[in-house]
């Protein structure tokens, strides 16, 4: 099933997130990822949600979201056609022997080493879903100690549109 990135502008209001999350829960639509943060306008929050589903589900989700009183705007960014980024912090096990390999991988993925001990390396990586999954796959070979992802945030590409 296709993935969709929904960009939702809402009134910055306590309880908005629970209305939105509740809508998904109640209708059994699965959220792949959700991220929220204020926009340039302090009274407006942007929530980015990645959902999996066919056209019918997407249409239903969009209409139900638009129905919520606090929702100002819902845009389907199109999963493939938007700038989407996610940040991950990954703490991976490392020994003297493996340290250089891990650093090499982190270079390839443009990751930054943000913490280092004798036995552990913590990396910060920013990328789209594919890149994050890629580095996780490689690092899991060494043993991932702990990990956190922010969830996807996205904006439309402007340069390729008129």
């Amino acid at each position: 099933m296709a993935k969709h990135t929904l960009s939702i502008l809402v009134r910055n209001h306590p309880g908005v997130l629970s209305h939105i999350a509740g809508l998904f829960a109640r209708r059994a639509y699965n959220i792949e990822s959700i991220a929220a943060g204020v926009t340039d306008k302090p009274d407006v929050t942007r929530i980015t949600i990645v959902v999996k589903g066919d056209e019918y589900i997407l249409e239903q989700v969009t209409k139900q979201l638009r129905k919520l009183i606090d929702v100002i705007k819902v845009v389907d960014l199109g999963y493939a056609d938007s700038i989407s980024r996610e940040l991950a912090l990954i703490t991976v096990k490392s020994s003297k022997e493996t340290r250089s390999q891990i650093i090499e991988i982190s270079n390839v993925f443009n990751a930054t080493i943000v913490d280092l001990t004798e036995k552990l390396i913590t990396l910060q990586v920013v990328g789209n879903d594919r890149q994050i999954k890629g580095i996780i796959k490689l690092l899991s070979f060494f043993g991932i100690e702990e990990m956190v992802r922010t969830g996807v945030i996205a904006l439309p590409y402007r340069s390729t549109r008129d």
Partner: protein, 555 residues
């Protein structure tokens, strides 16, 4: 001058024209109760249970078209509103519930009588609030009333901590509600409307499928005009039973699971289905793939999310039923459609609603038929949930809009009697009849005290079959007659119960007594309960089994 939060609540309600409130006090809303004490502009109806209060507010709203308002305290008071909120949400009833909450600094501490009613009611309200700042209170009440009653109506809950009710703020008065994100679409898109006009003009066998939205928007006249002008038969839902006069030849009565055979045949055979304020509920459609299989669909609804939810619409029109129907009625051609109307008339002649009348036991259908003949449609009929509800929808003949009140979407047993209280409060001059079952009535029977105290002259028609009849019917038909826990056993003496509440009661056991009993009840000036001992194992027919279609109908 500064005012207390509780006074701001009451003042704002009065300013907005709210003159009737239903409710039940408690520790967390004493300030609100203190603020209405002695205020003659607001009539407060004290029920015996918060569920009774909210169903009464709901019945009041449905019968009058005004906003129903209900007060309850925190914790158990608030949670007792949950069923009523869900009920109003499913049937799109304009309602505002104002609950007390524990003081702000105690929220989240599992304090005495604390419940997160805001969180609990997110999925069953159109919108809800937890007010944490007394300066926002006036605005919130204004917004809540506006949201509840505009667009697709629905219940709104406002949870107000006790300290907010007690602290003070300046009242602004004349607040204009500004909700940038909420703009219900009233007028239909002109291009779509013209397309619909063309489709109607060109259709050979069009059919109107009207739902509760027609009643809610007050569009019954417009519906009538369109149907008559273009000769389009009308199939109704439980929610719209009183939207079209039953005796008109174009009226097909109720569609769906327990609908008339002719309504369902018309749906099967129509080439254009004009759905107005209806949401293709599964009790109407059965299997949606087989529903109106031969028709293209025009779907008119104020809620864009309803369009395409169950059935794809060939012409979707987002807008208010009254506005859209009025435009359609003006623009369509006058037509006779002799062939189609003849076919419909033959369906009506060939497959009428019927039941066997043995004459030994009282038939529930007969009671309703007699009630209908004696009231001639000049009453507000309020039902509970079960077989008696379906028989009411089948055998009552309606003349006036908002004269049939029933829990449709949620199917809430216990709704009927308190809703009848609300309907009678809103219409003191009209005859209000509550048709109920022995199961349903016992869910909110304590409200007899309320009705008795306020001297409401409601006529209670209890169809007493000793069973949870509708469930028993399903067990009989689909579970090999294994009547697991649907036999209510020895009936209580309803006449004595009524008398205990100061209400007149009558037990009727013989078919020959039915007419006289109803006549005398209608003549009687006060509250009266008629306990009809009816045929115990009567079934509602016809029936399309769940998920089925007209081909699988049982007669």
């Amino acid at each position: 001058m500064k005012k207390k939060g509780a006074e701001i609540i009451v003042e704002t309600l009065i300013d907005k024209g709210i003159d009737t409130v239903f409710g039940y006090p408690g520790g967390a809303n004493i300030p609100i109760y203190d603020a209405i004490y002695g205020r003659s502009e607001i009539r407060h109806i004290l029920t015996r249970h918060e569920q009774g209060a909210i169903h009464a507010a709901d019945g009041y709203a449905r019968a009058t078209g005004k906003i129903g308002v209900v007060f309850a305290t925190s914790g158990p008071g608030a949670t007792n509103l949950v069923t009523g909120l869900a009920n109003a949400y499913m049937d799109s009833v304009p309602l505002v519930a104002i609950t007390g909450q524990v003081p702000t600094h105690m929220i989240g501490n599992d304090s005495f009588q604390e419940a997160d009613i805001y969180g609990i009611t997110v999925p069953i309200t159109k919108y809800n609030y937890l007010v944490k700042d007394v300066n926002k209170l006036e605005e919130v009440i204004n917004e809540a009333l506006y949201i509840a009653s505009t667009g697709r109506p629905g219940p709104v809950l406002i949870d107000i901590p006790k300290d907010i009710q007690e602290s003070t703020a300046k009242m602004k008065k004349n607040i204009t509600v500004r909700l940038p994100s909420y703009k219900p679409n009233i007028k239909g898109n002109p291009i779509q409307i013209n397309a619909a006009v063309k489709a109607i003009d060109n259709a050979e066998s069009p059919l109107l499928y009207a739902g509760g939205g027609v009643v809610a928007s007050g569009a019954c006249k417009e519906l009538f005009k369109l149907a008559k002008k273009a000769s389009i038969p009308v199939a109704l839902t439980l929610m719209s039973m009183s939207a079209f006069p039953t005796e008109d030849k174009l009226c097909l009565g109720m569609a769906g699971m327990h609908g008339t055979k002719y309504a369902n045949l018309a749906i099967r055979d129509c080439d254009l289905l004009i759905a107005v304020g209806a949401r293709f509920d599964d009790r109407v459609t059965g299997n949606p793939n087989n529903f109106a299989k031969n028709a293209s669909i025009i779907h008119i609804d104020i809620d864009p999310a309803e369009i395409g939810k169950i059935k794809k619409a060939f012409i979707p029109i987002v807008g208010d039923a009254k506005s859209v129907l009025s435009e359609l009625a003006d623009k369509v051609k006058v037509q006779k459609r002799r062939k189609w109307i003849n076919k419909i008339m033959n369906f009506k002649k060939e497959f009428p609603l019927s039941y066997e009348n043995s004459g030994k036991k009282i038939k529930p259908q007969k009671v309703i038929e007699t009630l209908s003949e004696l009231t001639k449609g000049d009453a507000i009929y309020v039902t509970d949930v079960g077989q008696h509800q379906m028989w009411s929808a089948q055998y009552l003949k309606f003349k006036h809009t908002r004269s049939f009140i029933s829990s449709g979407g949620l199917g809430t047993m216990g709704f009927g009697f308190p809703a009848a209280i609300g309907a009678q409060i809103g219409n003191p001059k009209k005859t209000v009849v509550n048709i109920t079952g022995d199961g349903s009535f016992q869910m909110t029977i304590q409200e007899l005290a309320t009705a008795s105290n306020y001297k409401l002259p409601i006529k209670i028609i209890l169809l007493n079959n000793g069973f949870l009849g509708m469930v028993r019917q399903w067990q009989q038909l689909f579970f090999d007659e294994r009547y697991s826990f649907t036999d209510l056993g020895e009936s209580p003496d309803f006449v004595k119960i009524a008398e205990g509440y100061g209400v007149k009661g009558m037990k009727i056991e013989k078919p020959s007594e039915v007419e006289r009993a109803i006549k005398s009840a209608l003549k009687y000036k006060g509250l009266i309960l008629l306990d009809f001992r009816v045929e115990r194992e009567e079934n509602v027919t016809p029936m399309i089994p769940p998920g089925g279609s007209i081909e699988t109908m049982m007669e």
